[in-house]
């Protein structure tokens, strides 16, 4: 009966081009990049094999340690920030704004579609001290605090970055989590209310456990994105001051294209890939366990 739907020639014609492009652009380069990690050189001067030298260098490189640490710190802080801010907004939409929330949802969502480069430059100007005192510092001055050079130290630059990425994406996570909250049956909430659960207790014992699945998928999505952060950092701080805000992605880019070390760049890319896969695996495992307990 499935003879027409099992037509091999048709399957080849339909799937073939996509599979071909995907293989040429993604699969083969991935394996190829793996091979590069055992070489040194670049595409202009050619490549020569150097065994595991890149890997021993990777282990001893303080810049790798710093940028790996930065990547993880950034991923944890921004993921928690995005999801918590999004969840609070979603609670606001569902329990306080109710029917009026559609417009607010749409308004808070929009920054996610804006080009990251433009947002990065905008935030740079919002937080700057010179040549003009930006709005944030002007606000601080107005309440009697001296201007802060936010991009002068890695610590404060990090928090501006975090703030910017939460600003950009909280509306997105709010809509994502809102969909999960709306799916909670009213009967459950009503009966919990009749049993005397209100406010925080209602959220903690009823709403939170019931929205755990969508909370977990937001978490996975967020971690996956924040580990790969590149655009916002390049636009806002370009890794500076010094290399104080350089994640692995940017360190890989600089190694490869500023210093033309493709071999070592590929090794860093491999490290980044391994980190992404490991973290996804851990988050996935933890979320599965939580779900079966919940």
């Amino acid at each position: 009966m499935h003879r027409v739907l099992g037509d091999r020639r048709a399957i080849a014609i339909l799937l073939g081009p996509a599979l071909l492009v995907y293989s040429l652009i993604m699969l083969i380069p991935m394996v190829w990049s793996l091979g590069y990690s055992f070489t040194e050189g670049n595409s202009i001067d050619g490549f020569t094999g150097n065994g595991v030298a890149n890997f021993t260098r990777l282990l001893d490189d303080p810049a790798v340690r710093d940028s790996l640490w930065f990547t993880l710190k950034y991923a944890v802080v921004v993921t928690v920030g995005q999801v918590v801010a999004g969840y609070l907004l979603a609670l606001l939409y569902v329990f306080f704004l109710r029917r009026a929330s559609a417009l607010i949802r749409t308004l808070v969502f929009f920054p996610v579609v804006l080009p990251t480069v433009a947002v990065g430059l905008l935030f740079q100007k919002l937080f700057q001290v010179a040549p003009q005192t930006g709005p944030v510092n002007a606000l601080l001055n107005a309440v009697g605090i001296d201007s802060v050079d936010f991009f002068g130290s890695a610590g404060s630059a990090f928090w501006v970055l975090v703030g910017m990425d939460i600003w950009r994406s909280m509306g997105f996570y709010a809509v994502l989590l809102f969909a999960g909250l709306v799916d909670i049956p009213d009967e459950v909430l009503e009966s919990a209310r009749l049993d005397g659960a209100t406010g925080l207790r209602l959220v903690r014992h009823i709403v939170l456990p019931l929205s755990l699945p969508v909370l977990m998928s937001s978490l996975i999505f967020s971690v996956n994105g924040t580990l790969k952060v590149f655009d916002s950092i390049v636009a806002l701080t370009n890794g500076g001051p010094g290399n104080g805000t350089t994640p692995l992605t940017l360190y890989m880019f600089q190694t490869s294209f500023t210093y033309s070390e493709y071999g070592y760049g590929s090794t860093i890319a491999l490290l980044l890939t391994v980190v992404c896969l490991l973290v996804s695996l851990v988050v996935y495992r933890v979320s599965r366990r939580d779900l079966t307990e919940g």
Binding site: D7, A10, L15, I28, L107, L114, P115, V182, A269
Partner: protein, 299 residues
């Protein structure tokens, strides 16, 4: 899953306005909610207002007047300056020339593959889907260097082809996956019936299935448009020639194109970029929200 929320919401919320709290308490709560919403809107919208006003200031007014002040003279010329001297016009053109073909190719290939993976029946299709999915996990840094070498050796560097090809390849996993998911709601019997009537399965794919998933195509297309248009990493890697810069790369290097930093045109360039995407969002926001969030839940 986000698809049917609007309907459910209104139904749910109407019922959710049950008995809760006395009247005065409720009024206090109202005020509190209003304050939070007001703060939220200021935080979201004021930066854009400030940016727009600043884009109309002269360099002098920007550097010497307070950051809160309105422009002394409204310098609309900043926009023409950014567009021509700042080359934003050229960069927008480059972006369009890279994004539109990539988007068309990606949707065409992705829809066909989604159809083959979901409607057609053959061994190994779930494995093939998994292979596509793997592409979403791997960071793009992993493919940049080999691609750079290939594009360099084949002489494609110096054209927009590296961007078109790379965008198509990196966008395929999500496109294939989302299209396969949309095809799940289309019954197979439809195609069996059509082929009995004499149409080949390829014809049935094109004339029957594509119109059926028209809506999904728009949604996936919008999502991918924002991804590609806003991309920096791939554009930065493959545009080694100044005339090939996309909007994002051009904006990043904007200050370099003038002798000294011209703040008005710089802000105007940021505005052009931001309000361009905002304009699309203004008309298609529900579709964009639905598309982006369903991409996240499924991915």
């Amino acid at each position: 899953m986000a698809v049917d929320t609007p309907v459910k919401t209104s139904a749910n919320l109407r019922r959710r306005r049950g008995p809760s709290g006395a009247v005065p308490r409720r009024r206090g709560r109202r005020l509190w909610v209003k304050a939070v919403v007001a703060l939220l809107l200021v935080v979201e919208i004021y930066p854009l207002v400030w940016m727009f006003l600043t884009s109309l200031k002269s360099n002098d007014a920007y550097l010497n007047n307070s950051t809160w002040s309105l422009p002394t003279t409204w310098q609309w010329a900043n926009y023409t300056e950014a567009w021509t001297t700042g080359n934003i016009g050229l960069y927008v053109q480059n972006s369009l020339l890279a994004v539109v073909p990539a988007l068309a190719l990606m949707l065409l290939l992705g829809t066909a593959a989604g159809f083959a993976l979901q409607i057609m029946v053959w061994k190994g299709r779930s494995l093939t889907l998994l292979v596509f999915l793997a592409g979403m996990m791997v960071p793009p840094q992993m493919i940049l260097l080999p691609l750079f070498t290939v594009y360099f050796r084949t002489g494609l560097s110096g054209t927009l082809w590296p961007l078109i090809l790379t965008y198509t390849g990196t966008g395929l996993p999500l496109t294939v996956f989302m299209m396969a998911t949309y095809y799940r709601s289309v019954p197979r019997e439809l195609f069996e019936a059509a082929t009995i009537d004499g149409a080949g399965i390829l014809r049935a794919f094109w004339t029957i299935s594509v119109p059926l998933v028209r809506n999904a195509l728009l949604t996936v297309g919008l999502v991918q448009f924002f991804f590609i248009w806003n991309d920096l990493l791939i554009a930065l890697t493959f545009t080694n020639n100044q005339d090939l810069r996309t909007v994002q790369v051009g904006l990043l290097n904007f200050t370099g194109d003038f002798g000294a930093t011209q703040y008005g045109p710089l802000f105007a360039a940021i505005c052009i970029n931001i309000f361009g995407t905002l304009l699309i969002y203004l008309f298609l926001n529900q579709k964009v929200m639905k598309g982006l969030t369903s991409g996240a839940v499924k991915g």
